[in-house]
Symmetry: C2
Subunit: 307 residues, 2 copies
DNA sequence: CCTCGCTCATAAACCCAGCTTATGCCGTCA
DNA sequence: TGACGGCATAAGCTGGGTTTATGAGCGAGG
């Protein structure tokens, strides 16, 4: 959401307008199974509970979503649409859950992971979901920190596998590149750069004021290294989200990690501007204590990170 | 306790492991404002309520997220991570809300939109959020249906602005292209195609078994038109989500709308395979009754769709 | 030095959303 | 026609989240 200056009209929070996760899960189950009762059974509740919950969701949204019949229930057109939107919420919640369970860091974990923030934020939940899909009984614990902290954990044998971003590999660790954090230049679709047919010269990027994170942030450092020390800020903002929404609303070109803008790119709220002559990315590496390449669950996870 | 019918260990649903939306919103507010009390005030609840809610969320997740001090509250490292994951859920909920409010279709709407499913599902929520940001008092109503239904609504003057996908423009309507639904070929990163340096020949695409939606679906039709009538299914699945997860888990190459896989592409769970010699896209058009180009809020929305 | 002002925590009482159990109605199929 | 599956309704219970009221820690300023 945009920075809420002057709220003006007091509107009840999102939570009062959006059904809770349980209701959304139920809706997805009804869509999949074609019956309130079966959906209820799958979720471990009774049929009247499901019936009432769907009904109250319809009342809350003001839309009939389910066509009831004595032979089952099918979604209405509106219901199908709502279900598609709901699926996104539930998917985000699944990623949250996968991450949070690892973060809980139980002592009995069979795999202890230490990861830098970018990786933990964007990539690890997906990997953990995939790992859970293929090895459901693997308990993973996660510790997030900077590269030095990751290295320290590994060397102290408090973690089995680490993930770091950046140019250098900490000493006494073995590493393999598992991906790249590509910075990309993005603008709103209306910006002149969006109509270019040729890549933007690095020189022009360096001399144009950009929407950037504050000095010292990881992406800012990568950008300034690539440009040779200079970057002109048009705006300096303190969160990736803020940079993103400024760019979407057309304030100017921004430089952001590709990981942060997948959704915006595919919906064309932002467009990516190719740039010639600079490598705006940094390697993402899996690391482990020299000579102790992970086995078992760690090896499984490592496999997932490379496809 | 719920009884474990069927699936071995019965695991409580997501809703019991993920904090509800209200708690996540609160967490974001705490992160932004640096104080439980201020966050409480912003959300219109009391400070003890916020305190207790954050505490119970920490208990639920088993992670300390907030460092309390007499001068305010800051997130811990783990808390920052949880907050980033939470933000995705909240963003999806905001899109849901924007769509659902329009779907409610109140009679007093100042702008009545009719849209086809793909557009309503993927693009419209974003447009509506943008519209709300720049014109907060515009009430929009939405009706979703196929192209014929959209045309009918417009011609009956029951809608002010329509959106359709497909090759043809219904008669008696004016239209402007607002985007493209690009189908792309995707595979898991480990697939041989992912290592190609040259675009895939259309011929090879046509002769390779693919993971596809069922016959008759929109994307399947576009693909078969582009390929000249033939497509070999490796798997035929009935939902985009199912196709996507099969592809992610490496079952084979799939053809999907770019709109459906933004997230998977940026996280490299899927990679896009360029194809030579076929146009795998269909135009997305805004349409209106001939000679009645929208004014006012309709014009605003139209502006947003083109950047 | 002491008090004000901000922070957060605790305790008790309240309320309502959502659950269960029990029942009824409707349509389909053998 | 009776059994079955599907949904709706009603009554009663429970718990999580809320409020009000209060207390305690820390810093700033008269």
């Amino acid at each position: 959401m945009s920075e809420g200056v002057g709220e003006g009209l007091r509107v009840a929070g999102l939570a009062h307008r959006v059904p809770d996760l349980g209701a959304l899960e139920l809706l997805l189950a009804v869509a999949r199974l074609g019956s309130l009762g079966r959906a209820a059974r799958e979720l471990g509740i009774t049929q009247p509970a499901a019936s009432s919950r769907i009904r109250s969701m319809e009342r809350q949204l003001g839309v009939a979503m389910v066509d009831r019949s004595p032979r089952g229930s099918r979604l209405t057109d509106a219901g199908a649409l709502v279900t598609d939107w709901a699926r996104r919420i539930v998917e985000a919640a699944e990623a949250f859950d996968a991450g949070a369970q690892a973060l809980r860091g139980r002592r009995d974990s069979r795999l202890r992971v230490a990861a830098s923030m970018t990786i933990a934020e964007y990539l690890l939940p997906g990997w953990l979901m995939a790992l859970r899909a293929q090895r459901p009984d693997t308990a993973v614990s996660l510790l997030a920190g900077n590269s030095a902290a990751v290295a320290q954990r590994l060397l102290a044998d408090e973690a089995d596998l680490g993930f770091v971003e950046g140019l250098t590999v900490p000493t006494d660790l073995d590493a393999v590149v598992v991906g790249h954090d590509r910075l990309i230049v993005v603008t709103a679709p209306g910006h002149p750069w969006a109509r270019r047919r040729t890549p933007l010269p690095a020189q022009e990027l360096a001399t144009t004021p950009l929407i950037l994170r504050e000095e010292g942030s990881g992406t800012r450092q990568v950008l300034e290294t690539a440009l040779g020390g200079l970057a002109r800020p048009l705006l300096e903002l303190s969160s990736t989200t803020a940079v993103k929404s400024s760019a979407v609303s057309g304030a100017g070109p921004a430089v952001l990690s590709e990981l942060a803008v997948g959704e915006e790119l595919s919906a064309r709220r932002l467009v990516s501007i190719p740039v010639a002559g600079v490598r705006l990315d940094r390697a993402l590496r899996a690391v482990w204590r020299r000579g102790h390449r992970p086995t078992g669950p760690g090896r499984d996870l490592l496999g997932l990170t490379r496809g």
